[in-house]
């Protein structure tokens, strides 16, 4: 089957909006890492009186869909209040682009994560609201909603692939049921590691395919 990008993805990739750096940003956050693939940094300039995003820029170490989702997510966020922008979902971003190939949906998740992290940093540092999740099964579940199963582009919670989440001290144990489709297993486990590790209080993560 042909895996291809929509014209809108190509347009945003060719001429990305809001690319660059805001030197005096009120908040900035980097998500992803070069080791596991893509990385995105989002910069926000926020009107502190109205909590409205007056300017937003991003940089991307990533593929065409990473650049395109960075472009669309910053378009969507510009002019919105931080609460409105925080509510933007990866699905909305992908829909705005006319869809993404399932295997590329994680790029959209990454862009949304970048935006949300920057907003939460601002909320914590400027507004004194600490959004850092405490270590609960709920918090882990919410993070795992950002891990997509590549062949279908749907998160592993919705797909009911997560069978068990255990917490002992700071050690988190996640059991998933990914069948024998081994080629997607390793990158998915990497993503679970990445997402669960960033929850405050997590000391170690183990993932088993049961």
């Amino acid at each position: 089957m042909a895996i291809k990008y929509t014209e809108k993805v190509i347009e945003h990739f060719k001429n990305p909006h809001n690319i660059g750096v805001i030197e005096d940003a009120d908040a900035c956050a980097t998500e992803g890492s070069p080791a596991c693939g893509d990385e995105i940094t989002v910069y926000l300039k926020i009107d502190k009186r109205t909590d409205r995003i007056v300017d937003v820029k991003f940089q991307s170490y990533g593929c065409a869909s990473n650049i395109a989702t960075g472009s669309i997510i910053t378009d969507l966020a510009k002019g919105k209040t931080i609460d409105e922008a925080e509510a933007i979902t990866w699905k909305q971003a992908a829909d705005e682009l006319g869809g993404l190939p399932p295997v590329k949906m994680h790029c959209s998740v990454l862009a949304v994560d970048g935006l949300r992290s920057a907003i939460r940093k601002y909320k914590k540092e400027v507004k004194g609201i600490d959004y850092d999740a405490t270590l609960t099964v709920d918090a882990i579940t919410r993070e795992l909603e950002h891990v997509l199963w590549p062949p279908v582009g749907v998160d592993i919670i919705t797909l009911k692939m997560v069978k068990y989440i255990g917490i002992e001290g700071g050690a988190v144990k996640v059991e998933i049921s990914a069948g024998s489709d081994e080629k997607y297993l390793e990158p998915t486990i990497d993503e679970i590691f990445e997402h669960v590790s960033k929850i405050k209080g997590v000391k170690s993560v183990s993932v088993d395919n049961v």
Binding site: K14, G37, E39, G62, A64, N66, Y184
Partner: protein, 393 residues
């Protein structure tokens, strides 16, 4: 279109296309005895077998045409191991083989074969000491390749063949050696005796013949059984009606390949070097994947462009009508970085920014100069956009 992805597949040479047209519309009879048209088709295939056999130091009866390079690999590897009855059988290949070979090995592992995957050095050359160390009385198959498709490394086949032959003498029986020569055929000559090959697979599609045709050399006396079944009017190993149109195209492609072989290889090498020099002069922070100089296939170049991602480079070039390939995880359906780049010691980030340029005899200097003129600003632009910056000097 500037097509620099010839290791994936090539344009059909116009002369090959004409040869195919004649067979498709005029000499279309199925090979058969006695009748003029039936024997004519049979002779066409025999002629093609003879041409390939002569080029590799074999005899005509040792070559069969298959439905693809992948099918040749499957027939050669599976047919060979199934023909042997050795206790606790072991099979040997390397970490950087073509996906078809690795897929057959993984399938055999599931059936209980013990597989050894030998490593390579930083330029992709086989670890021959490791090869020698894993061969034993249980070994039933060794599969190696002539040129690595991702990094262009010319593998030391003669030395490897000698090691396998020596092990065979030690255990007192033949250890079949399969060579995947698909990516090598464009730029390397082969003498099956010099490398001690028992099985060699080829693909028409890599040398300006049509897709859907391959060939398998089977040394006389090599134990092999069919892996699929049907009318064996052509060969028991490749049952069914032979693809005479495809074979005619492959045959013409082989004729053209050897018509100006050395000059064509030199032409590709000069243009490849022009591309490499241009990139080196104009783009900082790059890594050459695979060897430099005579250890590398003449038509092959693969660079990692640091701090940026290869799929984005590939897509920008594609929009300018320039076709290349990348080993980036982002371009793979599995989201894993290319296993060959990882095997030579590249990290994820280095594999991420890899671009492979593979030339053909049809590539022109203008193609190379246009590619360079487009590539340089693409790399600069993506680096300006990237979260990762070069270290401050």
């Amino acid at each position: 279109m500037i097509y620099l992805d010839n290791f994936r597949g090539t344009m059909v040479a116009p002369e090959a296309w004409e040869a195919m047209r004649i067979v498709a519309t005029e000499q279309y009879a199925v090979p058969a005895p006695f009748t003029q048209c039936g024997t004519g088709s049979a002779e066409l295939i025999e002629g093609a077998q003879s041409r390939l056999a002569a080029a590799i130091g074999a005899s005509s009866g040792e070559v069969v045409f298959t439905g693809s390079g992948t099918e040749a690999i499957n027939i050669g590897l599976l047919g060979s191991v199934r023909a042997q009855t050795i206790d606790k059988p072991e099979i040997v290949t390397s970490e950087i083989e073509y996906p078809a070979t690795l897929a057959v090995y993984r399938a055999l592992e599931k059936q209980g074969y013990v597989a050894h995957y030998i490593g390579v050095d930083g330029e992709g050359r086989y670890n021959l000491e490791q090869l020698a160390s894993v061969l034993n009385e249980h070994t039933v198959l060794v599969s190696l390749m002539g040129v690595n498709h991702m990094i262009g490394t010319i593998e030391p086949l003669a030395e490897a063949g000698e090691i396998v032959a020596e092990a065979a003498r030690r255990v007192g029986r033949k250890i079949p050696l399969h060579i995947d020569f698909a990516s090598a055929l464009q730029t390397q000559r082969l003498d099956v005796d010099a490398v001690h090959a028992d099985l060699v697979s080829f693909s028409s599609n890599k040398i300006h013949g049509p897709k859907g045709v391959g060939a398998l050399y089977v040394r006389k006396g090599t134990k092999i059984v069919p892996i699929s079944f049907g009318a064996d009017s052509y060969s028991p190993l490749v049952p069914g009606t032979p693809n005479t149109m495809g074979i005619a195209g492959f045959d013409k492609a082989l004729e053209l390949l050897y018509a100006n072989f050395d000059a064509d290889v030199e032409h590709m090498k000069q243009l490849r070097d022009r591309l490499a020099d241009g990139i080196r002069e104009r783009v900082p922070y790059i890594l050459l994947n695979g060897p430099e100089g005579p250890g590398r296939a003449a038509s092959h170049l693969c660079y990692s462009f640091l701090f940026i991602e290869g799929e984005a480079i590939m897509m920008f070039l594609d929009m300018d009508g320039i076709i290349v390939d990348t080993g980036s995880a982002c371009a793979a359906a599995t989201l894993k970085p290319n296993y060959i780049l990882m095997a030579i010691g590249r990290n994820h980030e280095e594999a991420h920014g890899s671009i492979r340029f593979t030339l053909s005899r049809y590539t022109t200097q203008e193609d190379i100069d246009t590619t360079l003129s487009r590539l340089v600003p693409i790399v600069e632009r993506l680096r300006a956009q990237s979260t990762i910056k070069p270290p401050a000097s």
